[in-house]
Symmetry: C2
Subunit: 403 residues, 2 copies
């Protein structure tokens, strides 16, 4: 049932709305904040004064206004707070130290030892988080928390349940353990949702009300912002774009479905398609190429590799058309490590489909963009989880976690 | 950008939250309202007193409580207000007079004269709306408004733009004209979104936070409630479930895509599939059957018709799996006139797919239900549009219309 609200909630909600308006802009005046948020000039003025006092926001020069005196420009004070973002991929741990503006200040990558026990990996996360803070000279008092981006699925308490690519990680209380080992607040989310939150906080989706994030990694996932709110779904497992059916009679997927995007478009499927493309005729070294080599060959214009990637992009485009018709969004962001070298091939194929085959295309354009932070999207997003949990406007509904 | 809020908005929001909690229940006490809405007992008490004074709510007996005195049960006063719901289908106009509890009090069906000019049809809507009110003896003072459910797509002002099955209706200012001819407030929405709002206000989705409505009529559409809010998308054209790709190399769809749900599963596609199923061999009268006859035959167990309907249900099931994986909803409602006789065949096939092939199936069950008001869903939904526009809790965001 929809939740009611009260005065203290309204106060912190409006405060978050103002902070978000400042963060989403490249410098904004009080008058402009009032215009974009619908708040009165007086309310904006009171909230901004408090944000200035707390050091979360700074005045940064002035801009000419239409008549009258120049308007003071406000920006988020990037050095007011920091968060460590941890991206837990089955093969690798990525760490980013981000400032409050969402900019990465330091990075660290470490392999995950194959077969390592969960407790060992979580201790490794804690040690590396401490190390990146120490090397950057950020004191504990400035740390808002640690954000952790993991593969799903999650249960209602944010615990991974039988993650398909992480045997041994079923129902590990990762959030609690990482909190214990780091002694910082910890926020956990799905890797693709984290990447979407990163784009919203600091990336190309800053002021976009509704957008989808298509995350291409070892698997394929997604994240959703709908009407200015992250949408997580009933069990925190929305936006599983990897499990849109694109080939009804296609290969079986581990999820129990057939012909899923992931079963057809993930790196191992691309490797299999490359081998199959040479079948029945000559066989050459391309048949044994791994995903990275195939992408490099496609980017260099090698015809077989290029055909394989374009065919996969075509299937992703089919899913993107369904997605846009279902959610009528403004923007589709492509990100994740599997885009390396071939991001523009994917973007072009998907953009052509979305601009030519969606139902509402004559009513408004849907942008398709590759994330400029694609490779580190989940780690930067993980850091943004902390800022989002601390500062994003939410009102009248409890966070999904508390359902 | 997310909108701020203020005290008057909070007051009317909480009021709507309480009214919705009462309407969603089969009788609820003040204590229970506080529990489900998170509002304090005192806030609930003040709001309920006002709703009683206004006559929107009545006290209706009492229920035993755990210790202490029995609790007074509250219900919406059905006779406090009425709305006329109009469903504009290319072939037929359906009218429902609904009371505030969303129950149909009277019904009226009229054919649309083929080739009739828009102004003639809109005058027909107004005359019939007046007639249904007069015959039921509802005075103007009790009429909250007229709700109109139309085929999309819509522009940002709620005007139909090139509706594919309604040539001549491009950009007709239908809302304004119907307001002028009836002299009541008019609320227009997509037919499938209206049906979803009807299920939420008075049907099987009353207390479901996130659900999808799959509407099967001449075309195939849908509606979405996500996190307790109707989701309309950037241009009011979300939930176009008829344009999810289910056969990548399938027939062309008028929308510009190939193998859409609608191109494969709509009544005319079912008729074509029936003809094709007899091709190459014997030909009998079944090859010339219309959709209604095919559905009747399938319901009676005729094998060819049954196979055709089950195959179509299988394609809808593929789309439903994608939908559930994308939105992680609690409930999928099937409704619309094309379900007549074959609702249970569709429901069974789709329910089996959703419970066996979705990613989060081990975390929570997703109910698949046929709407008990399937045939009149859009008209009852149209009436509910008025109640929803008047009473649904919304806060901090402007209605999409005002973007």
């Amino acid at each position: 049932m929809q939740q009611g609200t009260n005065l203290p909630k309204v106060g912190s909600y409006n405060r978050a709305v103002v902070l978000e308006a400042i963060q989403a802009s490249d410098g904004i005046s009080r008058v402009q904040i009032a215009a974009v948020t619908g708040l009165t000039a007086q309310t904006v003025s009171v909230i901004v004064r408090r944000l200035l006092e707390e050091g979360l926001v700074v005045e940064d020069g002035s801009a000419p206004s239409s008549g009258g005196k120049p308007r003071t420009i406000l920006r988020v004070e990037a050095r007011a707070g920091y968060a460590v973002g941890v991206h837990f991929d089955p093969q690798e741990l990525s760490f980013v130290l981000a400032d409050l503006a969402g900019r990465p200040v330091a990075r660290l990558h470490q392999p995950v030892r194959p077969g390592a026990r969960p407790d060992t990996v979580i201790r490794q996360m804690a040690t590396a988080s401490r190390r990146i803070l120490r090397e950057a000279g950020v004191p504990d008092a400035k740390v808002l928390g640690v954000g952790l981006a993991c593969p799903g699925p999650f249960d209602g308490a944010g615990v991974m349940v039988s993650p398909p690519r992480l045997p041994g990680w079923d129902r590990v209380p990762i959030e609690g353990l990482l909190r214990e080992y780091t002694r910082f607040p910890v926020t956990v989310d799905n890797d693709a949702t984290a990447a979407a939150i990163g784009e919203r906080w600091a990336g190309i989706a800053r002021s976009t009300p509704s957008f989808a994030y298509l995350y291409l990694g070892t698997g394929i996932g997604g994240g959703l912002f709908l009407d200015n709110q992250v949408y997580r779904g009933r069990s925190l497992n929305a936006a599983e774009f990897g499990h849109i059916t694109v080939e009804p009679d296609g290969p079986e997927c581990y999820c129990g479905n057939r012909g899923c995007v992931e079963a057809v478009c993930c790196p191992s499927a691309i490797e299999a398609a490359m081998r199959a493309s040479g079948a029945g005729g000559r066989s050459d070294h391309a048949d044994h190429a791994d995903h990275a080599a195939i992408c490099a060959a496609a980017a260099a214009g090698e015809p077989r590799a290029r055909r394989v990637i374009e065919r996969v992009a075509g299937r992703l485009a089919d899913a993107a058309v369904s997605l846009v018709n279902m959610l009528d969004i403004d923007l589709l962001v492509l990100g994740g490590p599997a885009l390396r070298e071939v991001g523009e091939i994917y973007r072009a194929v998907i953009a052509r489909a979305v601009s030519g085959r969606t139902l509402a295309r004559r009513l408004h354009a849907v942008r398709v963009e590759t994330s400029p932070i694609a490779a580190d999207a989940a780690a930067i997003g993980a850091a943004s989880l902390v800022f989002h949990a601390t500062y994003a406007p939410r009102l009248g509904t409890l966070p999904s976690r508390q359902m």
